[in-house]
């Protein structure tokens, strides 16, 4: 062992110029590789952070360039299909169908009114998000103003033929005692007081004019038939990620499906905050793949250089190897010594490359955040071992028995 170590040291000293070139080459490769790997790791961390950020809040889908008067923009069937689709399990849909309506009558200057009356068919997730209270099955929730309006409707509809003006857009609705009547059908209801009433912030609407049905009732109350009325309809859709583990962008994927299925003249997209976040996430994902491959390619190129240098070195050392074998050394031992020599040089060059990687960072990157991590160091050490062994094995031709014999013949 002692002899081998002395021999390795002597060989390193004898071929210092060539080893200096190899070390410099690997230093350059290690520096570039460290930057690429660190950039890759940083992108992965940033992607994860962005995903976590995306899971923290609600994103509102908006319908641009039109709304449907012919039917639901997002049909109940589409909603049910998407909600139950396996691939969207990490995504929560907060959904409501909304119909703008109103009620107005005129009896005299003093006795007249005109009120909004907005009907929502809302799913439980959106209801709980807005009201922060558990929803009772089959109960219709009515805002304070809507309650007052529907109570007035109840009285006025009895005498509507006597009134100079009576108009109700949307379905015929009124409240009598504990029952809300819609087109003759009775529904239990509860009034939601104004105090602490949520504001449908993303749509800038006050919920005091709202009559909120369970989403499942959307089939029972046939608003879609009223296409001739000025009964404008909107689908209200928001999204929230249940966790940050999703792989593909589920919101964009679902919006595309909705756009294909919708009868609306417009299209659904998501608010700008999400687009910006998505753009960042796309960039990070793309950077991850790109820098990983760049790092691997740089290592390969460094490997090519090491291989060439080993060809040179082993060729030059043919006679030395031959004499060593003639005096009792083995081919395995010669290979081990060559690998050890090369490994020392590569580790030295790689170490310096890692130490000075911030210099390369300035050149490779002109902007963006970069965080140091140790994975690159581990991979580099492994790469140094693989290259030193690989390049010696590639140059093994020079150490073959017949070459040794030929070299000895030359010396003889």
């Amino acid at each position: 062992m002692g002899y081998s170590i002395r021999k390795i040291v002597r060989n390193l000293c004898d071929n210092w110029l060539l080893y200096l070139v190899i070390a410099a080459l690997f230093m350059l490769g290690a520096g570039l590789f460290s930057v690429c790997m660190n950039y890759r790791m940083t992108s992965r961390e940033l992607l994860w952070e962005s995903k976590q950020k995306s899971a923290e809040r609600l994103y509102v889908a908006v319908e641009l360039n039109g709304q449907s008067r012919q039917g639901y923009s997002i049909s109940y069937d589409t909603y049910v299909r998407l909600r139950s689709d396996e691939q969207y399990q990490d995504l929560e849909m907060l959904f409501a169908e909304q119909f703008y309506g109103g009620f107005g009558y005129y009896r005299s200057e003093e006795d007249a009114m005109m009120r909004n009356l907005n009907t929502y068919f809302m799913n439980d997730a959106l209801f709980e998000e807005l009201y922060h209270l558990p929803r009772k099955d089959g109960v219709v929730y009515v805002g304070k103003e809507a309650y007052d309006t529907l109570t007035i409707v109840s009285g006025m509809r009895e005498i509507k033929d006597e009134l100079p003006y009576f108009n109700m857009t949307g379905e015929e609705m009124y409240i009598e005692g504990d029952v809300l009547f819609v087109e003759g059908e009775a529904y239990p209801y509860e009034v939601v007081e104004d105090a602490g009433l949520p504001v449908f912030e993303d749509y800038m609407e006050s919920m005091t004019y709202a009559v909120i049905f369970p989403l499942e009732n959307v089939h029972e109350i046939p608003y879609e038939k009223d296409s001739e009325d000025d009964n404008r309809h909107y689908s209200r859709l928001s999204y929230r990620y249940r966790n940050a583990d999703y792989r593909e962008d589920l919101i964009a994927g679902q919006l595309q499906e909705i756009n294909h299925a919708t009868s609306s003249t417009g299209y659904f997209t998501v608010q700008d905050e999400y687009k910006e976040l998505k753009r960042q996430m796309d960039d990070y994902q793309w950077d991850m793949d790109r820098w990983m491959l760049a790092a691997v390619s740089i290592l390969l190129l460094a490997g090519v250089g090491c291989m060439g240098a080993m060809f040179l070195l082993l060729n030059k050392r043919r006679h030395l190897i031959a004499v060593s074998i003639a005096y009792g050394s083995t081919i395995r031992r010669e290979i081990f010594e060559a690998v050890a020599e090369n490994l020392i040089v590569l580790l030295l060059g790689g170490g310096i490359g890692i130490a000075i990687w911030p210099l390369f960072r300035k050149i490779i990157l002109y902007q963006g955040e970069l965080r140091m991590n140790v994975t690159a160091i581990g991979i580099l050490a492994a790469a140094a071992l693989v290259f030193s062994t690989g390049s010696v094995l590639a140059g093994i031709h020079e150490i073959k028995v017949q070459n040794v014999a030929a070299a000895l013949k030359e010396d003889a």
Binding site: L32, T269, L301, C306, F311, N315, Y366, E410
Partner: protein
């Protein structure tokens, strides 16, 4: 004869030739990428230059709701009739989600008028520009992609379908548009752009006017859009020269590092290949020594060795050119567009490089004494 001999040597020494070929392919991809990067920077700078910057004014508006198309066109025609400029082109840019090949991307989309295309001076890299039919929305929906944009980097090519604003668009061409905001261009007028109310990103309108300037660009901006007050509407109004200056100033920082990176990568690849070549040439020195001993001239042997290596280089170079699109698609994100000048530059440099390495190794390793030593056995 020399070429035939060189070819025979390559085939005879199959194992080594294949190693060298593979190494050369890897080695060539990096310089191709690096040199193409530098050439792209240069070409971007050339394209970003206006034909006659002294007559150009660039007016920009950031609005959070849509401006009526008819209103804008009427305003531009009125200003044109008043002789404030000879012609004007306009674009509107907004952020939207684009779908293609089962994936979605968030990117900026620009609607551009026909005059805008000619005034902005975009360069067509592949495919075709918009035709009159495209602006009239008579046929299939079409779009252009910006070179080096996110979509183009994702390998979306001319002829592919992408889905924007709820409609399908066929990619008609790829353009070099270094000053543009958008990554996807649509014919303005054929598409209705809008944003949700209160959108923080809003829409970016840009109008390029051409003609003798009468007053400052800011004054022009106020006349073109009297309904937009200067505080909330106009975000920038510059002369062509100012815009160029701004572009070159802001891009220099980015491009300086791109050039430095390209040089570093090319140097790294060069050193690796030089070492490999030197090793491979020295491996064949016995054969060369025998040939010299048998009477072949040193020049001829050197020539044969150089031709063999150049031949190998040519094969590797062609392979690298074939592999380049895949390589850039996954490694650089630079798109697959390889400039012709890059091919010529790398090809010629590679040939000179190989001749120099070959000669240097040959003259260093084949002195008379070395040959005698080799042949002693």
């Amino acid at each position: 004869m020399i070429i035939r001999n060189a070819w025979k040597q390559i085939l005879y020494d199959k194992y080594n030739s294949m190693i060298l070929w593979a190494a050369l392919v890897i080695g060539f991809l990096f310089p191709l990428l690096a040199v193409n990067d530098i050439n792209d920077v240069i070409r971007d700078g050339e394209v970003a230059k206006y034909e006659d910057a002294s007559k150009i004014s660039v007016l920009e508006y950031l609005v959070t709701s849509k401006i009526g198309e008819e209103e804008m066109e009427a305003s531009i025609i009125r200003c044109q009739e008043e002789g404030m400029f000879q012609k004007a082109g306009y674009s509107v840019c907004l952020s939207e989600i684009v779908y293609s090949h089962g994936r979605s991307y968030s990117c900026s989309i620009s609607g551009i008028s026909k005059e805008y295309l000619s005034l902005a001076g975009y360069e067509l890299i592949e495919g075709a520009f918009f035709s009159d039919e495209d602006y009239a929305a008579d046929g299939e929906n079409v779009c252009l992609l910006s070179y080096r944009s996110a979509l183009q980097e994702q390998n979306i090519r001319v002829g592919d379908l992408i889905e924007i604003l709820g409609e399908s668009y066929r990619v008609k061409g790829i353009v070099r548009a270094p000053r543009a905001y958008g990554s996807v261009f649509l014919p303005y007028g054929a598409v209705s752009f809008s944003v949700s109310s209160g959108s923080p990103l809003g829409m970016q309108y840009q109008i390029i006017t051409y003609g003798e300037r009468k007053g400052t660009p800011m004054l022009l901006a106020k006349k073109v859009f009297p309904f937009l007050d200067s505080e909330s509407g106009v975000s920038a109004a510059q002369t062509g020269e100012e815009q160029e200056e701004w572009y070159y100033g802001s891009m220099w920082e980015v491009n300086r590092y791109r050039v430095l990176r390209a040089i570093l990568v090319a140097a790294f690849a060069g050193v690796s290949l030089a070492l490999l070549f030197a090793g491979m040439i020295l491996r064949g020195r016995y054969d060369m020594a025998v040939r010299i001993a048998l009477g072949a001239g040193r020049g001829k042997v050197l020539m044969e060795s150089a031709v063999r290596n150049i031949l190998l280089m040519c094969i590797a170079f062609l392979t690298a050119l074939i592999l380049y699109p895949c390589f850039t698609a996954v490694v650089s994100g630079a798109g697959s567009h390889l400039l012709f000048r890059t091919v010529v530059q790398v090809g010629l440099t590679g040939t000179v490089f190989i001749i120099l390495i070959n000669s240097a190794v040959f003259f260093a390793g084949f002195r008379k004494r070395d040959i005698a030593t080799l042949l002693k056995g």
